[in-house]
Amino acid sequence: MKELWLTPTALPSIPVEAEVICPDVVAGRTLKDVSSLEVYVGNKTHILGEFFEVEGELAEQASEQMIVVDGTCQTVKYIGAKMTAGSVHVKGCAGMHAGSQMSGGEMLVEGNTRDWAGAEMSGGLLRIQDDSRNMTGGAYRGSPEGMTGGCIVVEGDAGVELGSFMRRGMIVVKGDVAPFCGVHMNGGEIFIMGQAARRLGAEAKGNGGFIACLGGVDEILPTYVHETTYKPTFMKLYMRQLRDVLGLEEAARFLETPFRRYVGDLAVGGNCEILVAEK
């Protein structure tokens, strides 16, 4: 992998929209080209080089390209959005829509992300090492499909409506999750290792989707019914995946844990599962 280094210099208070910080966009260009890629600040057009020092190497193919953003960029929107391959590594925080609609490749954010991180993602891996805010892996307004594939790992806490309208893919949150996690969910898996706030799985239809609460849950909706407590074999597969593929060692603790199985949301005739690990 060839590394392109972008070091933020003076970021304005108005957010910079920089969907060009994406392996697909920079690959095959020269450093000079990259430096003069257009970014948007409010109603004005600027170039990337005004806000970032551009160094490093460029690959021919996106899949060979790594972009390192060496600093914190809370006000830079759309980093890694729509990427299909390659890798983006933000050594700080990232602004709204980080990794949104990405379909491949890997993105790592060392700090936190703002709203809509990984929204409508269809593939690839997005790892946030701190908190992510609302609508992580969610659907944009009006869309009946949120995440349709890929994996998001949030090592901190996550905001409301995590994985809304989720259809496929996987989200893992090491910390706590705010209300309405997995709302309108219709497939896919969500793992919450911290505390899950109430109203998770609201109006979820199911279609194989489930929410696993490993760290406890505030309250289960009254339109979910408790079925049984058992040790699901399939959960072992996931726990091993979390441990072995994603390096989340804590998952190993749940290999033999019994889970309380809830099914709902009966308000929509759904068969989504909420699986709560017994303490």
Binding site: S103, G104, M121, S122, G123, G124, L125, T148, G149, G150, C151, R168, G169, M170, G187, G188, E189, N207, G208, Y230, K231, P232, T233, F234, K236, L237, Y238, R240, Q241, V245, L255, N271, E273
Partner: protein, 309 residues
């Protein structure tokens, strides 16, 4: 017939006639080894030969927990059938009757898609046992290799079954005959042979304990019978049967039959099996059964097998 000596035993320079079948590998896991083995034994029962069984199946090997997808003790079972359809039908029946029913078990595909010639969607039918309450489980969509399972509610809990199983164009009918001075030495040699064969991945020996004492030949003097005892190799009629092939001094013949996922595995298994047999005193001669190359497309030569190994 030409022959050569190997480890002090006469080996006929002939070949076993293998034929093409479709083979698959199913990994059964369970809460502990006991139940994994029980399920495997049930599933591979009455599956020695397609002459009268729906398929040929046997345990390939036991799998330690570290190597199974769910971290529980496992058994690899292999099954062979003449076509994809004639493989998936008995798979479905046997999984349904023998594994689904067996407490704590789960099944996983044992041939990954990239190694398989085709994928058999057993889950497509198996799931209906869930009567509408089955759950489709997806893993890895968009970021890892996509995997599909069915979770079927059962009284004991949940039966987890991978949806698709890899199948390969495989080789069946690998064999060799061990001819010994007496029953003890021949059986001893055969058992050692089977033990050795089981060290080769991708190969099973579907007959009882891996051994076929009867042998068989195509046809019979009775028109209604498809196959009958392998008269040329029956020591008790050594003299009365005109073209007997039982050598002087041999009083017992046992056939080792094996199926494998590909020709090299079968050849290797034959080689290690023969070598193990030759180490037992009392083995007079080893040969293989063929039909002059008319039946199968694989000529599994004993000499070639031993030379390659």
């Amino acid at each position: 017939m030409m022959s050569f000596e190997y480890n002090g035993v006469e080996i006929e320079d002939t070949f076993a006639e293998g034929f093409a079948m479709w083979g698959t590998r199913i990994i059964i896991t369970a809460k502990n080894r006991k139940w994994a083995n029980i399920a495997a034994a049930e599933m591979t029962g009455f599956a020695t030969s397609v002459i009268a069984c729906d398929c040929e199946a046997a345990v390939e090997r036991e799998i330690p927990p570290e190597e199974t997808p769910d971290g529980r003790p496992g058994v690899a079972v292999m099954m062979f059938g003449f076509s994809k359809k004639r493989l998936s039908a008995p798979m479905l029946n046997r999984i349904g009757q023998c594994v689904l029913t067996c407490p704590t078990t789960a099944i996983f595909n044992g041939i990954p898609e990239e190694e398989a010639d085709d994928m058999l969607d057993v889950g497509a039918s198996l799931r209906f046992f869930g009567d509408g309450y089955q759950v489709k489980m997806r893993m890895g969509d968009g970021w890892q290799e996509s995997q599909r399972y069915w979770r079927i509610p059962v009284m004991e809990g949940e039966f987890l079954a991978e949806a698709k199983f890899g199948a390969k164009k495989a080789v069946a009918g690998g064999n060799f005959l061990i001819m010994g001075v007496d029953e003890d030495s021949t059986l001893e040699a055969s058992e050692r042979s089977i033990e050795a064969i089981h060290t080769v991945p991708g190969v099973i020996t579907p007959f009882p304990g891996g051994l076929c004492r009867s042998g068989s030949k195509v046809g019979s003097k009775y028109a209604f019978l498809k196959a009958s005892t392998n008269t040329p190799f029956c020591p008790t009629i050594k003299t009365s049967f005109p073209e007997s092939q039982v050598p002087e001094g041999a009083n017992c013949v046992i056939e080792v039959v094996l199926n494998g996922l590909d020709e090299p595995s079968v050849m290797k298994a034959m080689a290690v099996g023969i070598r193990a047999a030759t180490e037992v005193p009392g083995v007079k001669r080893i040969t293989a059964v063929n039909f002059g190359g008319k039946l199968g497309k694989f000529n599994l030569g004993l000499k070639e097998a031993l030379e390659d190994a």
